[in-house]
């Protein structure tokens, strides 16, 4: 049996609001293994890792490393003990250079001053060693998301971590980039590093991990050898029931165009063409998927369509109305519903109740108010109904949204947008980082709405499996342009899609004729 390098025994973590995120969790890691840590949203994975990395103090529990009990009081302790963590959300300082970000905390010094040149060469060294192609002198703000992820990993590697925690590192990567990352993880594993890998993509877990530890509702259900399990076994453990990973859908019943985009150009504040002459339509009853490496214009398209930002030239029409110069309010009035990319930032107000969050896009409508006052009773009943319909797990409708788990917050967002009565749904990363159970429900609803109610849907997602499963028509974005279009999404392979996303292949205008 392999040498055990780390053991967390009986960890209980209670947050300041009284929420118990880890309940007497016991967890161990062997030398030279890649261990998967899985669980639904809010199961407590990140929390457990934060405890390990010294970011949160547990109420009880003991950590042992190489058989000796240790105390990890803060991140400095953790780093000193050879633990590194790649966080679920980027932990970068955008205005600093790559090198400065990478050496932050262990800055090289010369004559008592920060030595930038040495920092650059140190960074270059790590980049060369692990085959990361990145310029250390670039500003982090100018990097693509994939590159940022690499910087995060370099930050951990440069500190010589022996235990590496990776909290959903692949959520923003293309399949090719993921492959690249996995190669490096295997390299690291073989050179004696131990890796904790957190992911909601069970296929990945299956691919590179040898063992899996499952958390649910803060409890640890135990560790299992992956050799004996398939993906649905894992998801059953996580969710407590069988989960359908494939979505059955009938052929779309396509109607008239709802959204019409013609020669759309957007230039951002830095003067870059983030949307470069885009044209396509979205019709009634169909789901159009957009794939692409993050930062290639998908978010900008979603911003333009939702009215969150303006555009430089071209025409965009929603149900026949030009949206040039229109506000979000106007565009919503034309029939748009919008599931934003970052739910905590754009999708909800954390401190407000579920009820208040659901009302946010419609409170001004006649049926919800009498004079300048809100119709409390009417709204309460309605929200109760939505909570039931969308299976939102909560105490009651007046619970602040921030107290819900990630997946349930997303359900609140979805409940609002899907009941807004719109015939165009703009869904940007609707299931990012939420667990299979909730994701399944959301995907099914998207398809159901298009089939039963004839909604036009634009689905932007970094999860290729998702775009492939849900879309009828599929477009690929690269550098602000549409570089490929496929009539039937479920006939495309992930690998082929990846080639277009990375710019290895591009379709000509003729090839895409009639698909836009």
């Amino acid at each position: 049996m392999a040498q055990e390098v780390l053991r967390m025994e009986g960890i209980t973590k209670i947050y300041d609001n009284g929420f118990v995120a880890n309940k007497n969790v016991t967890f161990w890691l062997n030398e030279g293994e890649i261990l998967a840590l899985v669980g639904e949203n809010g199961a407590g994975k990140t929390t457990l890792m934060k405890v390990l990395f010294g970011l949160e103090a547990p109420q009880s529990g003991q950590v042992t490393m190489n058989g000796a009990p240790v105390k990890i009081l803060n991140t400095l302790d953790a780093i000193g003990k050879g633990i590194g963590m790649v966080h679920q959300h980027f932990m970068l300082v955008p205005s600093l250079t790559v090198a400065e970000n990478v050496v932050l905390g262990i800055e090289p010094m010369k004559n008592g001053l920060f030595d930038f040149d040495t920092a650059v060469s140190m960074t270059q060294e790590v980049a060369d060693k692990y085959n990361f192609n990145i310029d250390p002198k670039m500003k982090v703000a100018d990097l693509s998301v994939g590159q940022m992820q690499k910087v995060e990993i370099m930050k951990v590697l440069i500190k010589g971590a022996k235990i590496i925690i990776m909290d959903e590192p692949t959520a923003v990567l293309t399949p090719q980039e993921t492959d690249e990352l996995f190669e490096q993880l295997i390299l690291l594993r073989d050179s004696g590093h131990s890796i904790i890998f957190i992911s909601h993509k069970l296929e990945e877990v299956k691919r590179i991990c040898s063992r899996v530890t499952v958390l649910r509702h803060g409890y640890c259900l135990g560790s299992y050898d992956l050799a004996d399990m398939n993906e649905s076994d894992i998801s059953r453990l996580m969710v407590g029931r069988d989960v359908v990973l494939k979505i059955e859908k009938e052929a779309p019943n396509i109607g008239k165009p709802v959204v019409h985009i013609k020669n759309l150009v957007k230039i951002n504040e830095a003067g870059k063409h983030v949307l470069d002459d885009i044209s396509f339509d979205i019709h009634e009853g169909e789901v159009v998927g957009i794939a692409g490496v993050e930062g290639n214009g998908q978010s900008d398209l979603s911003d333009v369509l939702s009215g969150m930002s303006g555009f430089s030239s071209g025409t965009v029409e929603v149900n026949g109305n030009d949206i040039k110069g229109k506000t979000v309010h106007d565009i919503r009035g034309m029939g748009m519903a919008y599931i934003p990319e970052d739910r905590m930032e754009y999708g909800c107000a954390g401190d407000m109740s579920i009820r208040d969050n659901i009302m946010a896009d419609r409170f001004f409508k006649k049926e919800y108010k009498s004079g300048p006052f809100m119709k409390k009773k009417y709204i309460d009943d309605l929200v109760d109904q939505y909570i039931k319909d969308f299976e939102i797990a909560c105490d009651d409708k007046s619970q602040p949204v921030r107290m819900l788990s990630g997946g349930n917050i997303q359900k609140v967002v979805v409940a609002r947008e899907f009941t807004s009565g719109s015939n165009f749904i703009l869904a940007n990363q609707p299931t990012r980082g939420i667990d299979v159970g909730a994701a399944e429900m959301i995907r099914k609803t998207i398809v159901k709405k298009s089939r039963e109610e004839g909604t036009a849907t634009l689905l932007i997602s970094a999860d290729l499996n998702e775009v492939l499963e849900c879309s009828d028509r599929l477009l690929v974005f690269r550098k602000g342009k549409v570089v490929a279009a496929f009539p039937k999404a479920n006939e495309v392979s992930e690998a082929e899609l990846g080639e277009y996303m990375l710019g290895l292949k591009t379709m000509t205008a003729e090839e895409m004729e009639g698909l836009l």
Partner: protein
């Protein structure tokens, strides 16, 4: 969760009491060093405000301006804009209200006159707040800086108006012509000598509370303040909401200035800022930005101030000492972390108890579902 909320509220209350107690202990220790009769001083500080009917009235009287500016800052906090113009407005609106009152003279009958003057005060507030609010919305100019600078400008502008537009040359000190009788808010409740502005303040609190929690605009404002990006994504008119909320806040500060002048003064004579704006900021924070709690916080602050006055007139301690004590009280009451450990431990204990209780059932339940999961 409800258990947690209960703990939080209890701790909050205990904390305010402990904070005040600590400040008084500090005061006592200091007084032992510098005063001949520290016990007497402390007694005056703590009990003095209640020693006569008139002093109790003074607390309430002083709480009136605090309530207005406190409400003003509730609006600023609600939309997350640190528009500090409430400070300057209070003084300037008092000035303009006096100017209008003098010029209107005895023309209007009493209640109507007051109404007109309150509106004037509110309008002054709206116009003044509009400047930083607009510059912020339009040019993204830092609202804190603009409003602070504006406050300084308003001080000089008020002095100018006083000096050149309404100064009463027949009195030795700097002061405007006296307010006409029909513009004076009378004292009410006999010996309490509370000014009738109290009613206006009460109405303002109720109106603001309804606006915040029952009306569409209040809802809109809370969404915008709670998460502006979310509000934008929902199509809420951000700029409009933010600006209007500030204007309402400004109007309240303006009415506060009007009530203060009409209720407590015979003529306008401010030549320096009253600091009631900053007092209002403190009140809003102490009230946890909740308009319903504003009167309570205003009374607390007024109580401390009146205590200070009593000490000042009764004892041998210079009045400035109290500003230090007051600073300590405010910092302790507002410090989230003060007694935070105590609160957290209570929460942890409650949560851990809950955990122990349902542990067995829950684990059993979980395990039965995953019957086939084999632990290594």
């Amino acid at each position: 969760m409800n258990k947690t909320r209960k703990i939080e509220m209890t701790v909050e209350l205990v904390r305010i009491l402990v904070a005040v107690a600590i400040a008084y202990v500090i005061a006592l220790v200091t007084l032992f060093l510098i005063s001949d009769d520290p016990i007497y001083i402390i007694q005056q500080f703590v009990l003095g405000p209640f020693s006569s009917v008139r002093r109790v009235g003074s607390i309430i009287n002083l709480a009136i301006p605090f309530t207005f500016t406190g409400l003003c800052f509730c609006f600023m906090y609600a939309v997350n804009k640190f528009n500090l113009s409430g400070e300057g407005i209070f003084m300037f609106s008092g000035c303009i209200v006096t100017l209008v009152a003098i010029n209107l003279g005895e023309g209007l009958p009493f209640p109507l006159m007051i109404l007109v003057l309150l509106i004037v005060g509110a309008v002054v507030g709206v116009v003044v707040t509009a400047i930083p609010a607009f510059l912020d919305a339009k040019f993204n100019s830092n609202i804190v800086v603009v409003s602070l600078m504006l406050n300084s400008i308003l001080v000089f502008l008020s002095i100018w108006v006083l000096k050149y537009q309404m100064r009463d040359p027949s009195i030795g000190s700097m002061g405007s012509y006296p307010l006409p009788d029909n513009a004076v808010l009378p004292n009410i409740f006999g010996k309490f000598r509370i000014q009738a502005g109290l009613f206006i303040a009460i109405i303002a609190v109720i109106a603001v509370a309804i606006l915040f929690y029952k009306m569409v605009f209040g809802y809109k404002m809370r969404v915008v303040g709670s998460n502006p990006l979310f509000a934008k994504a929902c199509g809420i008119n951000m700029v409009g909401t933010i600006v209007i909320a500030q204007l309402i806040g400004g109007a309240l500060a303006g009415m506060g200035g009007a009530c203060e002048i009409l209720g407590n003064y015979d003529r306008y004579k401010w030549v320096a800022s009253t600091q009631h704006g900053f007092d209002g900021l403190m009140v809003a924070v102490l009230a946890r930005r909740n308009p319903i709690l504003v009167p309570v916080a205003a009374l607390l602050l007024a109580y401390i101030r009146i205590g200070a006055d009593v000490v000042n007139s009764r004892g041998d301690i210079p009045i400035e000492f109290i500003t230090v004590i007051q600073g300590i009280v405010i910092l302790l009451v507002a410090a989230e972390e003060f007694m935070g450990r105590f609160k957290k431990n209570m929460i942890y204990k409650a949560a851990a108890e809950g955990l122990d209780k349902d542990k067995k059932e829950e684990v059993k339940e979980l395990m039965s579902e995953d019957g086939e999961g084999k632990e290594q």
